[in-house]
Symmetry: C2
Subunit: 192 residues, 2 copies
DNA sequence: TCCACTAGACTGACCGGTCTACTCACAATC
DNA sequence: GATTGTGAGTAGACCGGTCAGTCTAGTGGA
């Protein structure tokens, strides 16, 4: 049996994705996990602290996905980048197409909570940075135009992906994700 | 002085964009407007009813933007579509780059409230539909490849826009919006 | 007179967070 | 090796505050 802390974070991943931050009550989390309140506040300073640690946990999974895809040297660099998004899409399917937690929490909280906004933006920065390295490799190998800007392109892919993930969440359907990938990747190879 | 109902909706536009749904208390709305609770519940059945009407109001503004841009026959069809997004960007600037209310409420509520999810998706459908008509015209005039699919392309533009709007909200910066427009519009003209 | 509307006190439920009591594995002591 | 002390973790009753929503009273124009 996993530790109390791990069980809370695990449930947090699912519940925060579904409910968002403000709609998720501590009591619901505790009821779902069968863990009493005293334990929760022993392991976490506050609800906000908890959510932050859930985000950390979420990012661990994201980085695993990046390791798996960008590190797959059997693929050409551009295919590795695309593979990351495809792995993400597969993860979304397992979650019932609820989209991306970063996009969800970012939208909900960035208007009010600067700490959260900064954390989520930092997460996007991390992801975008790793994709950018991969795209730079693609550029050097001639898969992208020589004058392409890998960092800009990585941010663009990520942002468009988040938009597609929102639409996918609304429709509970992966189609917007695939359409976005087809369009942006075929466009990226064609122009700077 | 505007009517009580109008003042509430007006404040709702601003406060829902900033706080989202769950973080916005009725009391805050009433304090900001100086309107007593009895009046609120005279004009609106519930908080959810209120938010729905704020969305309706938001969509009126969106349609005005669409009228202004897509109806501007001095521009070529493709430029009209782009103009709509530029007008939206200008509106975001006036709001302090808080992104799009549809994206915000969609992300926050679509995991829990099916009524809201359907309403927001319908809004996206309306917008996308009007852009698609414009893109169809662009296709007929040869601005887009003959085999381009205007409806798909319109959805794609809108989705990518929403992603860029989220990032713009996180950064309080319009750059992601402009980058997205440059990339997608130059790509759309080039390929199907 | 009538009714749309204003006005705000009030309600019960629920919120995040605190508090004290308790359990139990394990280390220190003789 | 039995006894005792210690602290991490469990357990849930409880707290003040806030929530959406209700209720009754009053107001003012038609």
């Amino acid at each position: 049996m996993a530790t109390t802390r791990e069980r809370l974070l695990e449930a947090g991943l699912r519940l925060l994705l579904e409910h968002g931050y403000n709609d998720l009550g501590i009591q619901v989390l505790l009821k779902e996990t069968g863990i009493p309140k005293g334990s929760f506040y022993h392991h976490f300073r506050s609800k906000e602290d908890f959510a932050m640690q859930v985000v950390d946990r979420y990012m661990e999974e994201v980085h695993q996905g990046l390791d798996l895809s960008l590190g797959d040297t059997r693929l050409a660099p551009l295919a590795r980048a695309r593979r990351f998004f495809e792995l993400s899409r597969d993860k979304y399917r397992r979650d019932g197409y609820m989209g991306c937690m970063l996009g969800g929490l970012g939208q909900e909280l960035s208007g009010v909570n600067a700490t959260f906004a900064a954390r989520i933006e930092a997460c996007f920065g991390e992801i975008s940075g790793r994709i950018a390295s991969c795209l730079e490799e693609a550029r050097q190998q001639g898969e992208l135009p020589q004058d392409a800007d890998p960092r800009e392109l990585a941010n663009l892919l990520l942002n468009c992906w988040e938009g597609a993930a929102l639409r996918s969440r609304l429709l509970r359907d992966p189609a917007p994700l695939d359409r976005m990938l087809d369009f942006t990747f075929s466009a990226a190879t064609r122009a700077s």
